[in-house]
């Protein structure tokens, strides 16, 4: 985040925060509304996770300023994502193998 104290820039930033908040509120209502449609499980999980991921990227991108952050932070997060995926996929693969046995 820039250290600027320029009032005009800060005003613009604040407006963005409010817009993001409104988008998050709408998406929350949407995800609840969609859950009442009784879609097949795979579709329901897909839609819910898609909306959640979009909401999470709004929070990370705007609230946590990841849309314009320093390179070092991106590298840390890239490594985190890689380990996170291993954490999610590895046990599932293991279970898959056990099923085949």
């Amino acid at each position: 985040m820039s250290q600027t104290h320029d009032v005009e820039t800060i005003r613009k930033e604040t407006k963005t925060y409010i817009k993001v908040f409104l988008s998050l509120a709408v998406l929350t209502v949407l995800t609840v509304a969609v859950s009442y449609f009784h879609m097949p499980p795979v579709a329901a999980i897909g839609v819910a996770l898609l909306i959640a991921s979009f909401k999470a990227s709004l929070v990370a991108g705007f609230f946590m300023h990841l849309s314009h952050e320093k390179k070092l932070i991106y590298w840390i997060l890239l490594l985190t994502v890689a380990f996170f995926l291993v954490l999610l996929v590895w046990p599932s693969l293991n279970m898959w193998n056990q099923r085949d046995l």
Binding site: M1, Q3, H5, V7, I10, E13, T14, Y17, I18, F21, L24, A25, T28, V29, T31, V32, S35, P41, A44, I45, A48, L49, I51, A52, K55, A56, V59, A60, F63, M64, K70, K71, L72, I73, I76, L77, L79, T80, F83, F84, L87, L88, P91, S92, M95
Partner: protein, 197 residues
Amino acid sequence: MEIPYTSETRPDTGLYNAKLGIWLFLASEVMLFGALFSSYILLRTGAPVWPHGRDLGLNVPLATLNTMILIGSSVTILLSWVSLRLHDVKKFRLYMGLTLLCSLGFLVIKYFEYMEKIHHGHLPSFNTFFAIYFTLTGLHGLHVIGGMVVNGYLWGPGLKLWHKDPQRFTNRVEVAGLYWHFVDLVWIFLFPTLYLL
């Protein structure tokens, strides 16, 4: 000896110490929650049937309200940081105070939700769903309490630093905000996973 780069940015990283620190901490938090989400997936895929949270009596309207409250508190903590950058301490206290109130509101709602479950005998030992439900929401709740302790300190006694080193205090609020957004982000995934799917 004074610790360097607490208020000014380090030339090689372009960051002040605490910001790098909080991101490393959040990376470890991703792994903590990631392990539990992974457990959830394994438990769910391994179970012959998996109940809908709603069918087990989870209160979707209350949880939706809690989601809104948490998102709202993410905005108020940002506004408290913005106020400091505009040198408006009164507004900082107002917005940080609102953040604390929202956090308290979240916990009160969670308390009523828990009480309802306990009243119906739906303890973690009741079934696998409630075991993972209480583990995930309980850990998240602990994070909310932890955030409240830090935010409460910054709102109260910690404010002294503002008069000595305003930039350093502003940085502290930014870092506390980053943690708070992460707590919000985790809830964004917990809510559909446990209540809607």
